[in-house]
């Protein structure tokens, strides 16, 4: 089956309003589950307004959903976070009966440290212990959604050589129905910041394990942010998809036999009326590239 084009549903009403004309184009919608929750006055995880709104968008467009979280902190090993993760997975189990996510991914690395939220996915050393931690988390996710995976995260520092990451990811996703979400903008961002060849990195990944590809754009940090004056590329999801990422997509598509979707990401709050035609062109370009190049 040919891969579909996907789009992330942003948890922001003004942005959703602007995106409404585009919502008939994607073949699926990507949802970050925790953006559809809130805590009630008894500290239980309950649905917020976006839960029903996203379901209605999917129903009206007759489109399925995929889940892509940020908060499961795949690489954490602290016992402090276990109760929270249990609550989240319990909530996800209830959501699965409503959203019927086709697959469920989260970011490689950790977003929680000792039960405290750092939010930004951070790298972990590429060790057996880190592989084991992420595989345990995948096993927990897989009890809810059968197809699960990790995303190739955009890290701003690593604990080892970047070109060793692909083999690390291969160990994490080994096994049945465990997949990789290949984020090409993340690879591009890291290649620019860390000085390696992005195709060398991509070609070392287990491409038969890629279930989904992300494409997006980003900007560079202001040189005044760092004492060195250096500017780093950011995975900010707030700009057009750059040519380097389109080129990576064209090259990698024929090599991903189990690919099911290519998702365009755009951050809420970064869209105005002038952005809509560009996003439409990007979604159409993904469709055409899939038609020409997919395995």
């Amino acid at each position: 089956m040919r891969p579909l084009t996907g789009f992330v549903l942003p948890p922001d009403l003004p942005t959703l309003g602007l995106l409404e004309p585009l919502l008939s184009i994607p073949g699926y919608f990507e949802v970050t589950p925790e953006t559809t929750w809130r805590l009630d006055d008894r500290s239980r995880l309950v649905e917020n307004g976006f839960h029903a709104l996203f379901r209605e968008i999917g129903r009206a467009a007759a489109r399925p959903f995929v889940a892509h979280g940020v908060g499961l902190s795949m690489g954490s090993t602290s016992a402090s976070d276990v109760p929270r993760v249990r609550r989240w997975l319990s909530r996800l189990r209830r959501d699965q009966t409503l959203f019927r996510y086709l697959w469920f991914t989260d970011h490689a690395g950790l977003t929680m440290a000792g039960g405290r939220s750092l939010t930004l996915p951070l790298p972990v050393p590429m060790t057996h212990a880190s592989v084991a931690a992420m595989r345990r988390r995948l096993a927990s996710m897989q009890r809810i959604v059968p197809d699960v995976g990790v995303e190739t995260t955009a890290h701003y520092f690593l604990f080892g050589p970047p070109l060793e990451e692909p083999a690390f990811y291969a160990r994490v996703v080994a096994g049945a129905r465990r997949w990789l979400l290949l984020d090409l903008h993340n690879v591009h961002t890291m290649s620019v910041n860390m000085g390696f060849d992005s195709w060398e990195y991509v070609s070392r990944l287990p491409l038969d394990k890629v279930i989904e590809i992300h494409v997006s754009g980003g900007v560079s940090s202001d040189g005044s942010w760092l004492p060195s004056g250096r500017s780093l590329r950011l995975d900010s999801h707030d700009d057009d998809v750059p040519d380097d990422v389109w080129r990576l997509l064209e090259r990698v598509l024929p090599l991903c036999p189990n690919l099911r979707g290519v998702t365009l990401e755009r951050m809420e709050g970064t869209v105005d009326v002038t952005t809509i035609p560009r996003l439409r062109r990007e979604l159409r370009r993904i469709e055409k590239t899939i038609q020409r190049k997919a395995a």
Binding site: S78, R84, L118, T119, P125, M194, W225, L226
Partner: protein, 117 residues
């Protein structure tokens, strides 16, 4: 707090430090809490600029989470962005980042403001 793996303890402290780059450099010089040889070896690979950018983004994401969850914080920011930035800096320093959802962060902020002169 239950036993925290060494890496998580280091990241939590260093990324929230006044100068994360110096926190990293100090750890590599052997200053502060003793680190295992394995972690010191891993830290030797870390790009200090990347570490500083990560620290900035950690703060930025918490700032955005608060604004998303708290209409009061949003109002304060709209009225006086510079003043709110200073207020947030105090808040982020004094209150451990235990919130994950925007509504949780809003509650933490309200509690802190109520007890802060």
């Amino acid at each position: 707090m239950k036993a925290m793996p060494e890496l998580e303890r280091f990241l939590l402290e260093a990324l929230r430090a006044q100068d994360p780059g110096e926190a990293l450099a100090g750890a590599l010089r052997g200053e502060g809490p003793p680190l295992s040889r394995e972690l010191r070896s891993a830290l030797a690979h870390v790009d200090p600029d990347g570490f500083r950018i990560a620290a900035l983004l950690v703060t930025k994401l918490r700032f955005e989470r608060l604004l998303r969850g708290s209409s009061e914080a949003e109002r304060l920011f709209d009225e006086d962005p510079g003043g709110f930035a200073r207020l947030f800096k105090r808040y982020a320093h004094e209150v451990s980042p235990s919130a994950v959802l925007p509504s949780e962060e809003a509650t933490l902020f309200d509690v802190w403001r109520a007890r802060t002169p």
